[in-house]
Symmetry: C2
Subunit: 366 residues, 2 copies
């Protein structure tokens, strides 16, 4: 079952057998090649990837680090990466960072040991690698100081674990590995980003076009870049349509279903007559908000319109169906592999575009 056996069975040297089975192109006489293949088939030979790895110095694998497999956000990306990787003959090894920067660093270290061809980091949507367990007071040290422009939020991220991570990845890259970040820009690696700003911009214009004038926005904390970008794009879109957003109706809340519920409850409580429509920066928030409105006696889509962002599956399951912006996460994953496999020089970047989907939660006015 080893190459040795195959070679003997085929009556050639082990070197020839190796070449016929794996090595570079046509340097084996066709006849010999087929004898080897026959022998391999007969003996049910399977190459030993680890042995190949130690001999060549790298494994035909792509290491994928996600925050949480069960989160549709990550699993959609994972699906894309897996699909593209398998098409390229690469096996995916997946690790879960659980939104902890330390864990992420640890994993990258371990994974590097496996000598994968590619490392893909599908980070969270929070600034500074992942920030949920990071100190909130901003005194964290950022390892990649040179490029940490003040005010862009990158300073969040735990005492130097971010710097260590970047260092680790840079070494890996210098040694010939490919690194791709999904939705984390500003790092010296290939990057796939999502067009949050543009999508929100177009959504705003579409809603303005549908006749809406008085908007409310439910957004997450400033440190959530995704939220920030979406709000920025949305505001700009409104402005382009000649509409201004009243600060009183921009409500900061959690980036969760509960957050959306809470914000809507508050809004309904203090009287929502002045707003015709709510834009929540994510679908789960929007869905929570719809329930809250209903609980407060307002019928979503009639008394108050609601729009979200992400176009998650349940957007069409709720009543009324939710207007949203579709984010092709799976494509983002595929694109990440394309970047990794395409030869381009390292710090390359592509942006995945998003698409507005109007549904019954935002009926055209009049």
């Amino acid at each position: 079952m080893t190459l040795h056996d195959v070679a003997r069975e085929a009556g050639v040297s082990i070197a020839t057998a190796s070449r016929a089975l794996n090595g570079s192109a046509r340097n084996v006489r066709t006849e010999n090649a087929s004898r080897v293949r026959a022998a391999a088939a007969k003996l049910d030979y399977r190459p030993h990837p680890s042995a190949q790895a130690v001999a060549r110095g790298s494994t035909p694998t792509v290491a994928l680090v996600v925050g949480d497999v069960a989160d549709p956000y990550f699993s959609a990306i994972a699906a894309g990466v897996t699909q593209a990787a398998e098409a390229a003959g690469l096996v995916v090894t997946m690790a879960v960072a659980g939104r902890s920067p330390q864990r992420e660093l640890e994993l990258v270290r371990t994974l590097r040991g496996q000598r994968p061809r590619v490392i893909v980091l599908a980070g969270t949507r929070i600034d500074g690698t992942t920030a949920s367990t990071a100190p909130k007071d901003g005194r964290a040290v950022d390892g990649a100081a040179a490029s940490a422009a003040p005010g862009d939020g990158r300073a969040v991220g735990g005492t130097d674990t971010r710097g260590a991570l970047v260092g680790e990845l840079e070494e890996y890259q210098a040694a010939g590995g490919r690194v791709v970040m999904v939705s984390q820009r500003d790092l010296p690696f290939d990057t796939v980003t999502i067009d949050n700003t543009g999508g929100a911009h177009r959504l705003a214009r579409a809603l303005a076009g549908a006749g809406y004038r008085r908007f409310a926005v439910f957004r997450a904390s400033e440190s959530v870049r995704t939220s920030r970008d979406r709000v920025a794009g949305f505001t700009a879109g409104l402005r382009a349509a000649g509409i201004s957003l009243d600060d009183r109706f921009v409500i900061e809340t959690e980036f969760t279903r509960g957050g959306g519920y809470e914000a809507a409850r508050k809004l309904a409580e203090r009287g929502a007559d002045e707003v015709e429509i709510v834009f929540a920066v994510s679908d789960v928030m929007a869905i929570g908000a719809m329930t809250a409105f209903r609980d407060a006696g307002l019928v979503p889509g009639e008394d108050i319109a609601v729009a979200g962002f992400d176009d998650i599956d349940s957007a069409i399951d709720v009543t009324p169906a939710l207007t949203s912006v579709a984010v092709p996460l799976r494509e983002a994953g595929q694109e990440a592999m394309r970047l990794a496999l395409g030869g381009g020089p390292a710090p390359d970047a592509v942006q995945i575009s998003t698409r507005v989907v109007l549904r019954e939660s935002t009926p055209a006015r009049r």
Copy 2:
């Protein structure tokens, strides 16, 4: 950066360094051991898993085969497996079979090459490994003929690819590997199953207890074991409560959202006055059904009650919130690892229990 360097730095032989860092227990003088560890730390040494693998003959990994990462059913299982595996210091490599038995076989072959410690197959919920691409006429040959009792549905499954798969896994197991199947029983491997029958049974009793008497059931094709089990459990539960199910109201449809919609549409069309409540064998079907009822002018939860199975996230996002049976998929994944890691002799089995969750879609009657 190799063991060699560490050994030199510590002034010991490479063999000693190996023993100090990885090998079996206390056979190294404590002083030497700590010197080696110090050297390793100083040099930032990272062992090369592939080299270890080729030397020892196995990798500290668990190979996980799922049908589709983006499907919450699989991603929840994957999350559990990953969590437990990481806790045990194992890396997970994931492969996607895309519901094709051939692909699954191919993957197992490839994965075996990696010499993983464990192989976990999270099969589909269809009989015969995966049946979607299998012939429908039942003339398929089943490789594991001996145990293929007629009528238990196992005959479905593509010309011997199932037999080949079993053979492949048996060889692997004989060579010391551990195999665990999730939700596929009747195979000579460790198995984690979901208590579909019991859950459905309890659901039926709970609904009977809430005052319901006239039931309809939306089920999938007979070849979908999950559906079959749930229907069987449900029927038994009703019987236990002294209720019988009218065959006219057992509707076979697709195991999808669209299937649920279609079934409900038909039922509403021919008049649903005779039924008080519909049990759909999955939540997605139930949700589709709710929409269809609404489209037909019936208010779910008022004019007609609806219950599902799985307790997917959106069960609480729909209106009214859906009564369902929670299936702890993540735990199933963890349990799979526990089986694999626990020493028990191979064909062991555990069942994951399910829990009824009553919500507004099935208000108590009167």
